[in-house]
Each structure stands twice: as C-alpha cells, then as structure tokens.
C-alpha cells in the first residue's frame, strides 16, 4: 500500500519544485512518492495559504510539463463547466479556443452555457483556491483535484502576471465582465474592472493568458483530452478551435443529462491516508473521534473505540485539523483490521451502455461497437465499484502509431473523467496487458483500429497519486476490468470473423464476376441457344445469391450455417 511510504520519500519532496517541474516524466513515474507529497500539501496548509503552496508546488497539481499544463488548464475550466451544467440540469455547450500569441504565450478561451455565476460569487469561484464545494463533498466526482478554475486563474497570474478575464450572466438580462486574480498571500480573490451591461447571455466565459504551456496534438494534449471528455459525456457538445484555426466539434450524442450522484460518506475501507488528512483538515468537528463518526459511513462510537485500541499513540480528543500524517496512517491501517458493514452501492452512477454506445458512435464513427454490462462489485473487502468497458473498431478508432499506422487506443476514465497520464501503473492498463489477444483473433491488436473505452465507477476511486491520473491496480478492480474487456473482445472477434468471411465472399464474388462476360458471350455461340444478355443476367444473379454477405441475409438456420461452413471448407481445400 502506498500509504506505508515513509519519511525518506517525504524528504525528497523538499527538493526544489522548479527542478521537478522540468522532469515531469520522473514525477509521474514516481506516483507513490507523490502520494506522500500530497499528504504534505495539507500539512503545509497551516503555515501557508493554499495559493502560496500552489505557487511552489504546482507540478503536483498537474501543472508539470508544458503540454500537460495546457491540458490541465483546459481540464479545470471544462470540468468546471460540465459540473455546473450538470448541477443545473443543462445540456452543456462548451466552446474552447486556444490561440498562440506572438510572444509565445497562449490564450485560452472557454465558454459555456451553464447557469452562470452570480456576481457576488465570481471571486470565490474563480479567485480563491479550494473554495469550491466539491472538495468537501463525498460524492462520485469527476475526479478533479479541487483546485478548479481558480488554479487556472492563478497559473495565468504566476506565468504572465496578468489577471484572467471573466464574463458571466445567469440569464436574467444582466451580464458582467471583470478581471480576476488571486491574492497569493491570503488566498483571496482580487476583482478589478468590473463592468455591467444588459444582455441575455447565460453561462460563464473565462479568458486567460498563459506561458510555460505548449499546445501540440500528442495523446496527452487538450485535443485528446476533449475527445475523451466527449466520449465520457455524450450529453455535452464540445467545440475546440486549435491555434492553427482548425475547428472540431464533438457533437452531442444524447440529450440525457446524467443523474446527479447522490452524496455518500466515504467508507473506511475506501479511505487513504491522503484522503484522511484532507478530510480532517477541513473538518468542522472539534474532536477527532466525532470527526470519524460524522464523516465516514458505518463508523459508530463502538467502532471508534476499536480504532482507539489499535492506535494507542493518538489522542482522539484533539482537533481533527491537528491530525498528523503518521496518525492518519495508523487510523487507516486500523480501518483495515476492523470488520465493517459494506458501503451502499446506490451512489454508483455509471455512464450506461446506451450512452457509451452513442458516444463512441458519435466521436469515433466506428464500424463496430460493443459495450459490456456488468453489475457492481467490491474491492478492498467492501468498496463498491463497477466497470464499463466498450470496444470500438474501425472508423476513427485507435490512435496513430509511429510508423503511420493505427493501433489500439485505450481511453481511461474514472467517474467519467478522462485519465491521460500515468497510464503505466493504472489498473485499466494492467487489465489490458494481461489479456491474451490471440484468443480473440486480435493478434495484431497494436496494429488494429481499436479503441478500448474503460470507465471505473466508484465513490472511492483508488487513485495511485495526488495527480489522480491512474487507478491503483486493486486485484478485484483489475479482475473485473479483465472480464469486461474479454467480454467485448469476444464480441469484436465474432464481428471480425463474420467480416473476414464477408470480405472473402466479396473477393470471391468479384473473382467470379470478372469471368461472367466472356462466358456469357461464348455460351450462346457454342450452344446455338439463348443470348449473352440473358445468360449474363442469370449467372450474375446466381453469383449474387451464393456470395452475398451473411449479414444481409435473414438469419440462417442451423442447417444453412452448417452447409455454408461445409462450402467454405471445400473451397479452402481446393
């Protein structure tokens, strides 16, 4: 377990953040190290404002590496919009435009049709770190780190010194525009140049200028991110205009707004030390013991007594915000030794087979789709989760390979949020890696236009690190993902073998067709009967009948299927 990582890793985190920012890959590879870092984040809250901390440790929040930073910015603003729309039961229309400026800076423009932000809250929403409501709510979230749009605003500020610009309206005939920045010392919003004017605009538009970011079209870049977002949110319409002016619309595939996840308290078995510190430091409870009973599902006073026995060195009467890493670690360890009533599976909100199919069809225009349908399972002895796996073949499925071909593309999601980074250690990839593709006739899966869509749904996604870009390879999760992948792979195999059969039929048909004219010309002369037109017509219809696609025929009876198999075998022998 990553929680057991000890102080020597912690010591590492005190090296210069700038150096780490340059070595994004290294940081990503050391997901476990990061877990400890994130623990530290909240310890430091006591001395510094979140904003100050962010300034120093931005790489830990996804602002590491120029491309990744760009993606994180897009992610923060777009997620903000999606959540707002979802909450207001609005079908999201999101417009993202990225411009490269002459000085090498980038301008990001994100516009939504959400509920908009009432003027008095705009500062808090965009100019104060960790002010959002999501951070403290225990519901199935899109998986953001809680820094939200304000993180983006701050990133603009610290890389260009310029405030972000916001424009919003709630549809009441009044629209306002203002510049927003963050007072880094006090983590307070600074609003300037506020202008009101009449208008019917409803939604939020944020414009901000950044440097230390870069736009490209790699698999980690905003384009892929938005594509993945569209795949996970078929109810949304997302438009991206890239710096080169290219405009892509991921059109809405479904008018069904996802149901809001119901809030649920975390179950002790789904909590990491990291989470524990996070929750404790934001708790309004006065005692650690009451913090435990009030914030976690299934934790009774009796259970707290059991925990106390297992953690003799911890004072359970102290303020939760004074909880130290080691103590939190001990409590989490104790959680695992106690018998719990399993958490409720009710709050799980899968995207749904139907919606995933619509999304895949819409974005990838594939030849073939199959989506698994599986019931919820539990991991770590009691945390409910469920997996949704879809496979798409053909069309725009797969991603380009170095040699110019197309190969297997795995689109990973946790609670609908695309996971772009740290794929290596992710449970999804673990499952994909251990599939014997040969068994499904997909030997060259690396050279086939296939997209695997994998969404893990849980109130407690076991992320590997604070970046929340990979899911811990929990045995039960990996196993469940494997089953789901196998399920859809089998379907694809069935489709492809039928398709291969059809292709063979088509080739055979064509091979014979080319001889019809000659034969139809010779026969009337040889026999002194009939005419070439008539013979040609009859021959063509015979060929058409024999070599028509199986899928076009009505369902074959078992006998017909057998007969066809026999014919195929015969032809192969010849």
């Amino acid at each position: 377990m990553t929680e057991e990582k000890k102080p020597e890793a912690k010591a590492k985190t005190e090296t210069k953040p700038e150096a780490k920012a340059k070595t994004e890959a290294k940081v990503e590879a050391k997901a476990e190290t990061k877990r400890v870092e994130s623990g530290e984040i909240f310890e430091e809250f006591r001395e510094h404002s979140v904003a100050e901390f962010f300034k120093k440790n931005r790489q830990m929040l996804g602002f590491a590496g120029k491309v990744r930073s760009m993606t994180t910015l897009v992610h923060e603003f777009v997620t903000n919009s999606l959540d707002a729309c979802e909450e207001a039961k609005i079908l999201p229309n999101i417009y993202v435009k990225i411009d490269e400026m002459e000085n090498g800076h980038y301008k990001l423009y994100v516009e939504d049709n959400g509920p908009g932000i009432p003027k008095q809250y705009v500062g808090k929403a965009l100019g104060q770190m960790l002010a959002g409501t999501k951070f403290h709510r225990f519901i199935q979230q899109r998986g953001q780190q809680g820094i939200g749009a304000a993180g983006g605003v701050m990133f603009a500020q610290i890389t260009t010194g310029k405030p972000a610009h916001a424009r919003s309206g709630t549809g009441d005939g009044k629209v306002y525009e203002c510049d927003i920045s963050v007072d880094l010392k006090n983590n307070q919003p600074k609003i300037s140049n506020m202008v009101d004017f009449p208008g019917n605009y409803r939604g939020l538009t944020v414009t901000a200028e950044f440097s230390e970011v870069k736009y490209d079209k790699s698999e980690y870049a905003p384009f892929e991110y938005l594509k993945a977002t569209a795949l996970a949110n078929p109810h949304s319409q997302i438009t991206i205009v890239e710096p080169n002016g290219e405009r892509t619309v991921f059109a809405r595939a479904s008018n069904e707004i996802p149901k809001r996840p119901t809030p649920a308290q975390p179950h002790p078995l789904g909590v990491t030390t990291d989470d524990m510190i996070n929750y404790a430091h934001h708790s309004k409870e006065r005692k650690l013991s009451s913090f435990l009973t009030q914030n976690f599902a299934r934790v009774s006073d009796a259970k707290v007594d059991e925990i106390k026995q297992l953690c003799p060195g911890t004072n359970f009467d102290k303020m939760p915000r004074e909880l130290k890493w080691e103590e939190a670690e001990a409590i989490v360890k104790a959680f695992k030794q106690i018998k719990w009533i399993a958490p409720s599976a009710d709050p799980l909100r899968p995207i749904g087979k139907n919606q995933i199919e619509k999304a895949l069809k819409n974005v990838l225009v594939p030849e073939f789709i199959s989506v698994s349908e599986r019931s919820p399972k539990v991991y770590r002895g009691g945390v409910p989760f469920l997996v949704e796996v879809g496979i798409a073949y053909g069309g725009k499925s797969g991603h380009s390979t170095k040699d110019g071909g197309v190969g297997l593309d795995v689109k990973r999601f946790a609670n609908r949020a695309p996971l772009l980074f740290d794929a290596g250690g992710c449970a999804t990839m673990e499952a994909v890696k251990t599939i014997d593709w040969n068994r499904y006739g997909l030997k060259n899966v690396d050279q086939m236009p296939i997209t695997l869509y994998m969404n893990v749904v849980s109130v407690f996604i076991p992320y590997t690190g604070a970046g929340k870009q990979a899911i811990t390879a929990e045995e039960e999760v990996v196993e469940e993902l494997r089953y789901a992948v196998m399920e859809v792979a089998r379907d694809l195999e069935r489709y492809l073998s039928g398709k291969i059969r059809d292709e063979q039929r088509e080739t055979r048909k064509k091979a014979i067709m080319r001889y019809v004219k000659q034969l139809a010309g010779d026969l009337p002369y040889l026999s002194g009967e009939s005419n070439d037109k008539d013979i040609e017509k009859k021959l063509l219809s015979m060929i058409e009948h024999k070599y028509s696609k199986i899928f076009e025929k009505t369902r074959l009876t078992a006998d017909e299927e057998k007969q066809q198999q026999k014919e195929r075998d015969e032809e192969i022998e010849e």
């Binding site: 055979r508 091979a511 014979i512 080319r514 001889y515 004219k517 000659q518 034969l519 010779d522 026969l523 009337p524 002369y525 040889l526 026999s527 002194g528 009967e529 009939s530 013979i535 009859k538 021959l539 015979m542 060929i543 024999k546 032809e571 010849e574």
Partner: protein, 371 residues
C-alpha cells in the same frame, strides 16, 4: 473408353454444341454450369492387360463455374470449346499455339487479366476438352507439329483446302512422305500393299534403308518417327496395324529406344485418354537387342557404356507389369543392367553399310522379335 475412329462428318461439332446446350440448360435451371472430364493424372492411368494399352480409368473431375477455385478454368474451357467450334464452322485449322493467340486477350477494359496468359494454360484445356468429348485435338481442327516420314507401297488420298491430292508413297524420292498432324480427317489410305511395316527410330537409318530401297525389296512400309513418335505418326501406325500389317520396330537398345517402342505399343501416360486409338499392342521389337551380341560377334566391340539413365530406365521397366510379364524383356533388361552396355542401331553398319538390311531380313526370317 470409347473407340475413336475417324470423325464422322460433323460429329465433333455436334459434341461441342451438345456441351453448350447442356450448360445453358443448367444455367436456366439456376444451377452452376459444370464441365465433367475424366481425370488425366497418373493415378487414373490404367493398363489394359488383355489388349495391352494404357487408358484412363473412371475417375472424373468436375469443374463448375460458381466455385471460385474453378471459375476461371471453367470459363477458359468454354472459351476454347467455342473457339474450336468456330474453327470447325470455318473449316480452318490451326495449331494449339494459334489457338492460344486467338484467345490471348484481356477480359475487359477495367480488368487487368487476360483470358489466357500462357500457352500451357490453353494446351491443358485442349486436352481436357479432348478427353471430355472423346475427340482428338485433330478433330477440333488443331494441328500438331508434323513429325515422321513414310515410304513404301501405299497411297494417300488427302482432301485438303478444297483440293484432293493423291500421294503415292513409292514416289516420294529421298525425302519420303511427311506424316501430317491429322491422319484421320480428310485422309484415306488406299492400295496399302505391303507385307509389314518397319518403324525405324532414327531418320538417318531410315534414309539409309530408303537409299537401299529396302521397302521395295522387302515389300514393306518404312516409317521413321524421328525419335519419339508424334500423335499423327502413332495414329498412322495404328491405322496400318488395323489393315492387318505386322508392325516391327527397329530401335536402339537403350532407354530412349525402348521408350519410343513402348509408347508406340501401349500408348503413353500423357495420352492415355486416347487409349487404344493411339496404341499398337501388336507391335514387335525387332532390334537391336542384347541378344544380338551373341549372334553377331562384331557387335561386341561396338557396344557403348550404358549411361545412368539407361540403367535406371531398364530398372524402371522391370517394374512395369506390362513389360515384366514378358520374360524375353526381363532377360534383355537384366543383361543391360548387368553389363552396363548399350547398343545403337547404327552399329549394324559396322561391317558394311548394307548390313542393316541383311540383319533385318535375317531377324524377320527367324522371327526373332521381342514382344
């Protein structure tokens, strides 16, 4: 196996038309048009023990258009059949090469494929058609290369290209009458007034005997296939045998000579489909033989070393039941294998050029033939 004699006027054309009608009928019934022909492979070649010739067994091969593996060949077969019918209608003859060029064209503007790319393809189908329809290629107006020369007391009525020519084989001078590709259609052999037919392996030896006017002195017909006998030559020998003339073959005592002899006698594997029409089981082997070494002392010095191929062929022949059944041949072949020697017919000119005639006369008198 049907006995093929000279085609009755129009019979082959009728067979072609019948094939066409059958295929059209199949198409009308919604069936894949099919072409059935006896299998020509070695596995289907049989030896007729009583009569002594090779023929094709009952194994059949069906070629049907709606099978992708057979479609092209089927279409090609019909193209060949239609073309042959055209030759018949026009009363024109060509070679299988000429037929190939008639059929070497693209299958369509947008199709990068020719009806026939190689002559071997069409050659094969000509044979299929011959077998299937029970006709010879000559019946399909397809000529083969002429090979073989005849001299002796017989006349030929050759109806050709609208003319009728009477050929007297005693008046062909030094070159003799060249055997045409087709000795059946438009050909008539009359006044065959010989005691026997002598088939001489080598043209040079034939010329020697022709110069001696051997045919006149012996009242025989001398034929040389000039090596392996062509279809026309074999067919002519068959026809002469049909006129009750004994056939004597005068060959080298080596692999090649034996092979030529046995091909004339039993027919060959390749042409097994022509069966008894092209075989002359009555033929006898007059020489030269290993036994001659005992009779003619001088020949002992004129043997040459048998080559590997001769020995191998001798061993092979011992394995053929239709050869092994003759103890004379077994003895002959075993001697060759043992001595590793062979003997050419030309060796008989050792003592004097005219000795060949003396040798043949003596053999004939003593009836010293190998079966």
């Amino acid at each position: 196996m049907a006995k093929r004699i000279a085609e009755e006027e129009g019979a082959t054309r009728e067979k072609l038309v019948k094939l066409g009608k059958q295929l059209v009928a199949e198409i009308d019934k919604g069936q894949s048009p099919s072409f059935v022909s006896p299998l020509r492979g070695k596995s289907n070649v049989l030896h007729h023990e009583k009569e002594g010739f090779l023929y094709l067994g009952d194994k059949k091969e069906t070629r049907t258009f709606l099978n992708v593996a057979q479609a092209k060949k089927f279409m090609q077969t019909i193209a060949v059949a239609a073309k042959c019918k055209k030759f018949k209608d026009e009363n024109l003859h060509t070679s299988i090469r000429g037929l190939f060029y008639q059929l070497k064209f693209t299958l369509g503007e947008d199709i990068e494929e020719e009806l026939f790319e190689e002559q071997t393809e069409s050659n094969d189908l000509v044979e299929d058609l011959e077998v299937s329809l029970s006709v010879k290629r000559e019946d399909l107006n397809l000529n083969t290369d002429r090979k073989g020369v005849v001299a002796g007391p017989m006349k030929v009525v050759d109806k050709f290209a609208g003319t009728e020519n009477l050929i007297d084989c005693t008046k062909q001078g030094r070159s003799g009458w060249m055997i045409p590709s087709d000795v059946d259609n438009g050909m008539e052999f009359i006044d065959v007034d010989a005691d026997y037919v002598l088939v001489i392996e080598k043209d040079a030896m034939w010329q020697r005997l022709n110069e001696d006017r051997f045919w006149q002195k012996e009242n025989c017909i001398i034929v040389t296939p000039k090596g392996q006998a062509s279809r026309g030559c074999r067919r002519l020998i068959r026809k002469l045998a049909d006129q009750k003339l004994p056939i004597y073959c005068f060959m080298d005592c080596d692999a090649w000579g034996w092979y030529i002899y046995w091909t004339i006698k039993t027919g060959s594997m390749n042409l097994a489909y022509l069966g008894e029409d092209i075989a002359t089981p009555e033929a006898r082997f007059i020489g030269v033989t290993m036994g001659d070494l005992e009779r003619y002392d001088f020949l002992k010095k004129l043997t040459i070393r048998a080559k590997e191929v001769d020995i191998k062929r001798a061993e092979e022949m011992l394995g053929y039941p239709w050869i092994a059944q003759h103890e004379e041949w077994v003895k002959e072949l075993k001697t060759v294998i043992e001595l590793k020697k062979k003997l050419e017919q030309d060796a008989l000119q050792g003592p004097r050029l005219t000795f060949v005639g003396e040798y043949l006369r003596e053999k004939m008198k003593k009836k010293e033939f190998l079966p």
